[in-house]
């Protein structure tokens, strides 16, 4: 047993923290939230130079061949610094399924541009039901000669407005089990028949509606096998859940630190509010929760790096995400309240974290979804 980070990992963490603090202070975060693109291509280019997009990809595809812990550490710092951008959809959601299920040709073609920061990707799974379950995927893809014809609507597709490619899950056949008959496609968002609209989110992060009307996708663009898309989505689910949890961990850690600091400074009734037991115990509850979340995330990432079976990592990932969802929401709300009225203002950074709560909960799976996955692992 060893709970320490390696010196390389310490370096990754401190580099990421410094980089994000320097390149993307909160004024920039606010600006980017208001902008159309939602990210800064210049920062993105520098991130690619640091090797972040290919951190956990093999060298042959331009990656650094680090581990999931390394990537989790970077995501943690992104959560801490609220760095906006398409890193999550591109790297966390799309690069791993391409690596695991892509043909040699697909990997050759798609991965190096991801690692190099030249290609932005996004994931289009969620539909009108808003559900993460297989039954939520209703979009039709019909085989016609060499192509599939896609019809339907995808929602909450992060940064689809900027994406060069999409992974799209659609239904190619109907069975009794909703997990059968799903197929994952690589789709060019500039294909005829596709319309993309930015959804206006409270947080200002970029999420889109994509309408597909008789969109033709070559059969060569299948990722994995036809009708057998569920395992692809499972992998996506697990990577996104884990890495989103890491990002959320960084966020709650920052919120807790800010609030603890504030509770030492703010004087009422002649004493620091942090000396009032109700305030102090509330902070202690959050502090305990954050520590627990931290190790769930790290151990889940470690299990993947250690090459233990996906099966052994999966309940832990679900635990991490369910915990992250609960802790993130609670920490943000409690800490805003612990600030009093100033916590409710635009001026303070703390609200920026809470605005992200709902997106964080949805991406990578909500709490009830993951609690059910944990229960599934018992049988």
């Amino acid at each position: 047993m060893d709970f320490s980070l390696s010196s390389d990992q310490e370096l990754i963490r401190s580099t990421a923290r410094k980089f994000i603090e320097n390149e993307c202070p909160r004024e920039i975060v606010r600006e980017l939230n208001r902008s159309e693109k939602g990210y800064d291509p210049e920062i993105w280019r520098k991130m690619a130079e640091l090797g972040w997009m290919g951190l956990a990809l093999p060298e042959e595809y331009g990656g650094v061949e680090g581990g999931m812990i390394d990537l989790a550490l970077v995501m943690e710092e992104m959560g801490r610094g609220l760095l906006p951008g398409p890193f999550f959809p591109t790297v966390a959601a799309c690069s791993f399924p391409i690596l695991a299920f892509g043909t040699a040709e697909q990997k050759e073609r798609y991965l190096p541009p991801i690692a190099g920061g030249e290609a932005l990707w996004s994931l289009a799974v969620t539909e009108e039901s808003g559900s993460n379950e297989a039954s939520g995927i209703r979009m039709q893809a019909k085989a016609e000669g060499d192509v599939y014809i896609l019809d339907g609507i995808k929602l909450f597709v992060p940064y689809a407005n900027m994406a060069d490619s999409l992974l799209v899950a659609a239904r190619t056949s109907e069975g009794l089990n909703p997990r059968e008959g799903i197929t994952v496609f690589v789709v060019d968002p500039r294909s005829p028949g596709i319309e993309i609209d930015l959804l206006l989110t409270t947080a200002g992060d970029k999420q889109c509606e994509i309408r597909f009307s008789r969109v033709s996708v070559p059969k060569a663009n299948l990722l994995g096998e036809a009708d057998r898309g569920w395992p692809v989505l499972e992998l996506i689910q697990q990577r996104t859940a884990l890495l989103k949890s890491a990002e959320m961990l960084g966020g709650v850690q920052a919120v807790l630190e800010m609030t603890t600091e504030y509770s030492k400074q703010r004087i009422q009734f002649g004493a620091a509010i942090g000396s009032f037991q109700a305030v102090q115990h509330n902070l202690v509850d959050l502090f305990n929760e954050v520590q627990g979340l931290r190790y769930l995330v790290y151990e889940a990432a470690w299990r993947i790096d250690a090459g233990l079976s996906e099966l052994s990592a999966f309940p832990l990932i679900s635990m991490a995400k369910a915990k992250a969802n609960q802790v993130y929401q609670r920490t943000c709300v409690d800490c805003m309240k612990l600030h009093g009225a100033i916590g409710f203002t635009e001026e303070l950074d703390i609200g920026l974290y809470h605005l992200r709560t709902r997106a964080n909960l949805a991406l990578g799976g909500d709490t009830r979804f993951h609690l059910d996955r944990i229960a599934e692992s018992w049988s």
Binding site: M1, Q280, F287, A306, A322, K323, D372, W378, S379
Partner: protein
């Protein structure tokens, strides 16, 4: 990072499981309190202590010269985890001897004290059973407020006063007693000393207190002109409080791992039973179980982290308090969902005519009724949070 035990540690785990199969009845039920309510129960518990001692497990982290094996904290953690999972009784020798008397004597005791008391504990002998006398009627959470006095007269201390809630006092040969040796000290934290008292001394009276379940676990202990040789003073006179503060963290280090093992067992039994009854199909039960399963894994990780910090030579400060708060929270949720799963069967006792209907599920009933006491024992939730606030978050004292 590495979240894996060594092969050696895993082999040791197997050895413990073999021991359990060989030595415990197949229907052995877990019980958090080693109360040994009847004489037969207590005799059985002590017989297991003896066997654990023969295995060298009872006090494995102690140095060899005092009856230990110089084992690593990790090995002890595996033992605590399995001990909790299988409910191995007799691991504490009362509650105090193994957990804190030995380690404190190593930190503060004289060589003579170590050689006299530690091997008795390590041998799993009735003369190695200890109780701890901290709390008094007016010194609970504020235990530095204690009044029991020890006045030095020649080569002896003369002790007068009263302790309360003293677990296992009726079974103990020795008491690890906190007393006031300087009644005129400037602050209540000064002037406290730790003295070892032979429970067979004239003037010691133990009066049982039954808890609300009807069990005899703790006692009142009265000291009336009890004479104790000055050699029984542990560490420095009047510095007892500061000694306790230093050793406290170490003492509590292993508790979390044992609790984790136990909780894991209860959870597994609940899942199995609920599945058999078709209850996991009910989403509120399934989700509540999954939710508490998360915190049980968190408990495992945090228990390991505490041991890891100690293995790095860092003295734990707030961590044992954190681990205790978490355990209390888990017990509350685990036992509540467990009792809901048991439905009306949750009312039954483990004895009498209805025994055939009693369903134990890893001792969940015992947990449910006992957790209220367990959360007060060794410091309440609020006082633990005070400690975490001060030492984990660096906040000012809140009370």
């Amino acid at each position: 990072m590495e979240f894996r035990f060594s092969e050696q540690e895993e082999r040791f785990r197997e050895e413990i499981r073999d021991f359990v199969k060989a030595e415990l009845p197949p229907d052995w039920a877990l019980g958090m309190f080693e109360e040994g309510d009847s004489d037969e129960e207590w005799a059985f518990i002590m017989s297991i202590s003896k066997k654990l001692s023969q295995k060298g497990w009872l006090t494995m982290t102690w140095p060899r010269e005092y009856g230990g094996q110089g084992a690593s904290g990790w090995k002890a953690l595996v033992y605590a985890e399995e001990g909790g999972y299988w409910g191995i009784p007799g691991t504490g020798m009362g509650v105090s001897g193994v957990s804190w008397v030995g380690p404190s004597l190593i930190l503060f005791g004289t060589e003579e004290q170590r050689r006299k008391y530690m091997p008795l504990i390590a041998a799993g002998e009735p003369d190695g059973v200890w109780c701890t006398g901290y709390s008094e009627p007016n010194a609970g959470s504020d235990f530095a407020n204690l009044r029991t006095q020890a006045i030095r007269q020649g080569d002896e201390y003369v002790i007068n006063g009263q302790k309360i809630w003293t677990s296992a006092a009726h079974q103990a040969r020795w008491c690890w007693l906190a007393v006031r040796t300087d009644p005129k000290s400037r602050s209540k934290h000064e002037g406290i000393s730790i003295i070892i008292v032979d429970m067979k001394s004239p003037g010691v009276t133990v009066r049982p207190i039954r808890n609300y379940i009807g069990n005899h676990h703790f006692n009142e202990v009265f000291f009336d002109e009890v004479r104790v040789p000055v050699q029984n003073l542990v560490g420095e006179e009047n510095r007892g409080w500061y000694q306790l503060m230093r050793s406290l963290g170490y003492e509590r280090g292993g508790v979390a791992a044992r609790s984790y093992g136990h909780n894991k067992r209860v959870l597994e039994e609940l899942i199995r039973y609920a599945d058999g009854q078709g209850l996991t199909a009910r989403s509120e039960i399934r989700q509540e179980l999954a939710d508490v399963a998360i915190d049980i894994e968190v408990q495992r990780l945090l228990a390991y982290e505490t041991i890891w910090k100690m293995s790095q030579g860092k003295a734990p400060t707030f961590e044992p308090s954190r681990d205790k708060v978490l355990n209390d929270e888990i017990l509350k949720r685990l036992s509540t969902v467990g009792m809901d799963i048991l439905g009306p069967f949750s009312q039954l006792r483990r004895s009498g005519r209805a025994l055939k209907w009693f369903r134990d599920l890893g001792g969940v009933c015992s947990l449910y009724w006992n957790l209220i006491g367990m959360s007060s024992a060794a410091g309440t939730e609020f006082t633990q949070k005070n400690i975490i606030g001060q030492f984990g978050l660096g906040l000012p004292r809140s009370y």
